[in-house]
């Protein structure tokens, strides 16, 4: 049987046409032969996938991955410029000794804003922006799995960043450094609302990072082109996979820590107060459990970018693909074991420090593997020195230098000397600017032409590079020397005549060179958007799938999904075709049907086999509204306006319901079944089981990491108190909470029966079991709430009390969330929405109940068991 595949239709024009032109013929999915005779439905697909009309509501609802990705990238770049301005002001202040350009307070504010902006509002969001923009293209699919989550993530990030900078308006700029150590940042020494801006605005930005992380993981694991097995995945995707997991594991503890400090400041808890049994060192642990991986969260994607660019400009496949993947995974793993080396001077036991010196130098191994793989690729290739490649070379040089000073400070005796000096400042700017900013500029020059449709000017690009490279070294190299000479970090000025002035002046000159180079970039960007040379489809003769689409790409990326059978699909003849005949038929049929909903493909994790055709959600205003709700909750807490926060919470919950309101399908069940039968694939016009299930599991993973952070805090504070529970507290009475948890555990029986009922399509049983599980779980939750609210102590009595109430409260909130989810499912179950073909929500709700039960067992075991056991 021969398949007739029409000529490549992807060159079709994209200019806007009136609505009626997009009306597609009604195509019959049950007869593939017939279906494939029609042309590819480019127009209908474009219409279906395009963002809504650019009205206000339309813009706020836009959710295409290119749109969200670009918004994230340019917003983050805006914050990069702001952070850079902060840095310039500091450099002006330090240009000469005993300068009075900035007051000490202003200086503190600027270094705090600079560090926080670069770490939270620039590096991570811009990387997630590139990931969201690129991944569906690189992986050969049409969208991200949760486009609305992407929208939510963007608005939350933007609002968080704006709220953070709003501190200038209220003259309450945070000034305790990007690490916000307590007790300086605690309620006693930082009264006022400055620290609350830091905690709450950045806290909300962390939520955004976590949300995007979940989406990125699922996209990489389950939304690739057919045939793209894990071992053919582009290295950028590998890097983002490890990064996104690291984000879940690292940002969650930081978010928990921020909330602990915020409750210390506003609710009288005592987590970090030594006088009431707390400990400030706990903050340092939680912060660096985040902070160390954070370095790699920024660095690993940058290596992914480098691994994409190096082979293209060396005109040969990358050397040591497998070694690089192993190195990426190892880096991610190791980064979670090393945080203590940021605390060398806290007073760690000597014995521990020996181990940490050894372990810290270990991270040099995977980094070294990657560096040598790139160098070898370049050496064995025929390199072209275009701007992206120049930035990669700059990265290699600077990052290796930063790595060397890193090995130096990994040694405890040396670190004790240079700790908190400009040597460390030099070290981490070499690592972060060299390791992250240079690759990001390479990414701009490399990828933006695809989306702009126009190339950058090479001459200006090269000028940008050289000015930045030289300016960077002029700025930061002297800092090594002045650091060894003894100049401490974070001082607003220094005395004249001790030999520090020339170095500082040179650094300031260098900083302005960097600023000038960024200006050149902006000029280049604007010029290229207006009058750059057309980029064409594949200006760099690159190997990965994003270069296969027309420039700029259609809203749905690919009409005919590529079938990948190579690591370098565009370099090998037939690299994007092939596959079995049935897969070819499938992708070609998918280019014609369905056109009435946004169909994307789920593929298997390992081999990239097509599993499901599912409906990706449409644009909606609700994610924006929920972002507004969330920012109201967090923002109002700065001024402790609880009733405003309550309004925000209502908006948030209502918008979540609107966001997840089920949709009816525009295609009939018969049509879907016909397509499914014809191609041996599941067709789900309401959403994918794989995607929904994985989304729920990752969400629960985040909750689990949050719980682990809270329990770690519990035990850490336990360490500081020889008597537990502290004097004045009785051992907790365990009977009542045990009954509460028991009821929840019993509710798992009807909840799992409800899953069985829906698979059997037994509607009455489904409704009954859902109701039973709700009643039992509600009673259990009620008891836990009762126990929580009838304590004979308050959070401010002692850190023990704070921990107890916080952790039990966490359980209660999770349980309430479960009840809400059950109610939601129940509501639609009673309307007969679910069937044996549509059961994901029921399953997910049951899964949530089970995991919360496990959390409950752990929480009660710790809270009610540990006082008896230690």
């Amino acid at each position: 049987m021969s398949v007739s595949i029409p000529a490549n239709p992807e060159d079709a024009g994209r200019e806007k046409r009136p609505m009626e032109d997009y009306k597609n013929p009604h195509l019959d999915p049950s007869d593939t032969e017939q279906l494939l005779k029609y042309p590819v439905q480019d127009d209908a697909l474009s219409r279906q996938w395009d963002d809504p009309e650019p009205t206000l509501i339309g813009r706020l609802s836009a959710l295409q991955n290119d749109t969200i990705g670009k918004r994230l990238i340019f917003t983050a770049f805006g914050f990069f410029v702001l952070g850079g301005i902060n840095a310039l002001l500091m450099r002006i202040q330090l240009a000469k000794a005993e300068n009075t350009f900035l007051s000490p307070d202003a200086y503190n504010q600027f270094f705090t804003m600079h560090g926080s902006t670069m770490m939270f509002l620039f590096a991570v969001p811009i990387i997630e922006g590139f990931a969201i923009m690129l991944l569906p293209f690189l992986l050969g699919n049409r969208e991200m799995p949760f486009p609305r989550l992407g929208v939510f993530s963007f608005w939350v990030f933007l609002f968080g960043g704006l709220l953070f900078y709003a501190s200038f308006l209220f003259d309450a700029v945070p000034e305790n450094g990007w690490f916000a150590y307590v007790p300086l940042a605690g309620p006693r020494y930082s009264p006022g609302i400055a620290m609350d801006f830091w905690l709450l605005a950045l806290g909300v930005a962390e939520v955004s990072a976590i949300a995007a992380g979940i989406e990125i993981i699922i996209s990489i694991l389950n939304m690739r082109a057919p045939g793209m097995s894990l071992s053919r995945m582009p290295l950028f995707a590998w890097a983002m996979l490890v990064t996104a997991f690291s984000i879940l594991f690292a940002f969650t503890p930081l978010f928990v820590a921020s909330m602990l400090m915020e409750t210390d400041r506003h609710f009288g808890t005592q987590f970090f107060n030594t006088e009431a049994g707390g400990t400030p060192i706990l903050w340092q642990h939680l912060f660096w459990i985040f902070g160390h991986p954070e370095v790699y969260i920024q660095f690993i994607p940058a290596t992914g970018i480098v691994s994409m660019i190096v082979p293209v400009f060396s005109r040969r496949p990358i050397v040591g693909y497998s070694l690089i993947v192993v190195a990426i995974v190892a880096t991610g793993f190791i980064s979670f074991g090393l945080w203590a080396h940021h605390m060398f001077t806290v007073g760690l036991p000597n014995i521990a420090m020996t181990f940490f010196t050894a372990a810290s130098t270990m991270i040099a191994i995977p980094a070294g593997i990657q560096v040598f793989a790139w160098i070898t690729t370049i050496m064995r290739g025929r390199p072209r020195w275009n701007t992206p490649m120049l930035f990669v070379m700059g990265f290699l040089v600077i990052f290796v230098l930063g790595g060397i000073t890193g090995v130096m400070v990994a040694s405890v005796p040396f670190d004790s000397q240079v700790h908190d000096s400009y040597f460390v400042v030099a070290h981490f700017h070499y690592v972060l600017i060299g390791g992250v900013t240079f690759p990001l500029f390479a990414a701009f020059y490399y990828w933006l032409p695809k989306w702009n449709g126009r190339l950058f000017d090479e001459g200006l690009g090269k000028l940008h590079f050289w000015l930045m490279f030289i300016g960077f070294n002029v700025t930061f190299f002297p800092m090594h020397i002045v650091g060894i000479l003894g100049m401490p970090r974070r001082v607003y000025t220094y005395p004249a005549g001790i030999g520090w002035e020339p170095y500082n002046l040179i650094s300031t000159i260098g900083a302005f060179m960097i600023a000038a180079s960024v200006l050149i970039f902006l000029v280049n960007l604007i010029r290229s958007m207006q009058s750059g040379a057309p980029a064409g489809e594949n200006p760099w003769d690159a190997d990965s799938l994003e270069w296969k689409t027309i420039t700029p790409p259609m809203p749905h990326n690919f009409s005919v999904l590529p079938i990948v059978n190579s690591r370098h699909p565009l370099w090998e003849p037939g690299g994007t075709q092939g596959g079995t005949e049935s897969t070819q038929k499938l992708v070609n049929a998918l280019a014609r049907w369905p056109t009435s909903w946004r169909a994307a493909m789920v593929t298997s994790t390992l081999e990239g086999k097509p599993l499901e055709i599912f409906r990706v959600t449409e644009p909606s205003i609700w994610p924006f509204v929920s972002a507004v709700g969330l920012i109201i909750i967090f923002g109002s807490e700065i001024w402790s306006l609880r009733w405003v926060a309550a309004i925000g919470a209502l908006i948030f919950i209502a918008s979540l319901i609107g966001w997840h309101w089920p949709k009816t399908s525009p295609t009939s069940q018969d049509e879907e079944d016909a397509f499914a039968r014809e191609h041996g694939i599941l067709v789900r016009s309401y959403g994918s089981r794989t995607v929904a299930r994985n989304g729920m599991m990752l969400t629960l993973l985040v909750f689990g990491v949050g719980l682990a952070s809270l329990l770690f805090s519990y035990f850490y504070i336990r360490l500081e108190n020889p008597v537990w529970p502290p004097s004045g507290f009785e051992n907790p009475a365990w009977l009542l909470p045990l009954i509460g948890l028991g009821l929840w555990l019993v509710s798992l029986i009807p909840s799992s029966l409800s899953v069985r009922a829906i698979h059997d399509d037994n509607q009455p049983a489904l409704r009954n079991h859902l109701l039973f599980s709700l009643l039992l779980a509600a009673m259990g939750t009620g008891i836990i709430l009762y126990v929580l609210l009838t304590k004979n102590y308050t959070v401010s009595d002692h850190a023990y009390a704070s921990l107890f109430i916080m952790i039990e409260g966490f359980l209660a909130v999770l349980m309430l969330g479960g009840l809400g989810m059950n109610l939601f499912v129940q509501f639609f179950a009673r309307r007969g929405l679910y069937s044996s073909g549509r059961y994901i929500a029921v399953e997910n709700s049951a899964l949530y109940f089970t995991v919360i039960a496990v959390f409950g067992v752990i929480i009660l075991a710790v809270l009610y068991g540990v006082p008896y056991l230690t």
């Binding site: 497998s322 192993v326 793993f333 036991p349 372990a359 008896y868």
Partner: protein, 308 residues
């Protein structure tokens, strides 16, 4: 296996349990105040002999039936040999006695059980040897009883294995329970058994997840990496707590550490750090090993494709 040998096995097991009880009275008679470097505790030797004996029996009947190296390769058999040797070092050699005195030695002992002996047992396919050592009637019956049972499925889930193993690690370090184990040989035995068995379960599940790695047929190796990362974090955090504690958790260790030139607190810090860093390196190696093996298998497949 004949009726007679079965009776023998039963009597031997009975003897083991009794011997334990008798010995435990004398085990803690001396020791305090002097270094225990020369103390060998023969208490667990019969147990090791039983394990080794069962393995040899099983492997003999397996190899007799299917040829030498069948089912359990020689390398795997050697791995089991090393595992018993490590158990011998951990439990019988002076390290065992030392671990009554030094927390850090105790930590090394536990890590030998959980991170060396247990995975080597899994590599040696102890369960297969056991199945062949037992009368085939028993084996088939157990297999029938367990196969497809929900309880068994749940037990072998990565989540369950991780939770049980993590719980064993954390619960036994609660000072009351740990102290109890130092003073009662039965509780001590229970502690070691639960460490070892949950570790065995964990590594068995890990092995199951990475089983098809060489032909690249399943993506469960990713779950295996997550599992090993999770356990590394969970036990590492306990190590952090132990290392950072400002006071001594287990007073029973206080008296003896001075002989080794350590304060009790330093001993504890050493123990915590061992649990944190070296143990973390073992978990890391497992993860990297799995990742590497899978990738290089894939590399071979890809090379084949390009050639073909």
């Amino acid at each position: 296996m004949s009726f007679f040998s079965r009776i023998l096995l039963f009597l031997y097991t009975l003897f083991l349990l009794l011997a334990r009880n008798v010995n435990s009275v004398s085990a803690h008679g001396g020791g305090h105040g002097s270094s225990s470097w020369e103390q060998w505790s023969w208490l667990d030797v019969p147990l090791l002999l039983l394990l080794g004996g069962v393995y040899v029996l099983g492997i003999r009947s397996l190899w007799k039936r299917a040829g030498i190296g069948a089912g359990i390769s020689r390398g795997r058999a050697a791995a089991f040999g090393i595992a018993t040797l490590l158990l011998f070092i951990a439990l019988v050699s002076p390290l065992g006695a030392l671990s009554d005195q030094l927390f850090s030695a105790h930590m090394v002992q536990h890590l030998l059980l959980m991170l060396a002996a247990a995975p080597l047992f899994v590599i040696g396919r102890f369960e297969l040897a056991l199945a062949w050592a037992l009368p085939s009637r028993w084996t088939t019956r157990i297999w029938k009883e367990w196969k497809g049972k929900n309880a068994w499925e749940y037990l072998m889930r990565p989540m369950t294995a991780c939770l049980l193993h993590a719980a064993a690690i954390w619960v036994w370090h609660m000072p009351r329970l740990y102290e109890a184990s130092l003073h009662n040989e039965w509780i001590h035995f229970l502690e070691h058994t639960s460490f070892f068995l949950t570790a065995l379960l964990f590594w068995q599940v890990f092995a199951g997840l990475t089983e098809n790695i060489h032909n690249g047929r399943s993506a469960t190796f990713g779950v295996a990496i997550m599992a090993v990362f999770g356990i590394a974090m969970v036990s590492g955090l306990l190590g952090v707590l132990i290392a950072f504690s400002p006071y001594v958790w287990y007073p029973s260790h206080i008296h003896d550490t001075a002989i080794f030139g350590l304060t009790a607190l330093e001993d504890q810090q050493l123990a915590g750090t061992i649990m944190w860093v070296p143990a973390g390196v073992v978990y890391l190696s497992a993860a990297v090993g799995v990742m590497g093996r899978w990738l290089f298998a894939m590399e071979a497949v890809e090379a084949q494709r390009i050639k073909g």
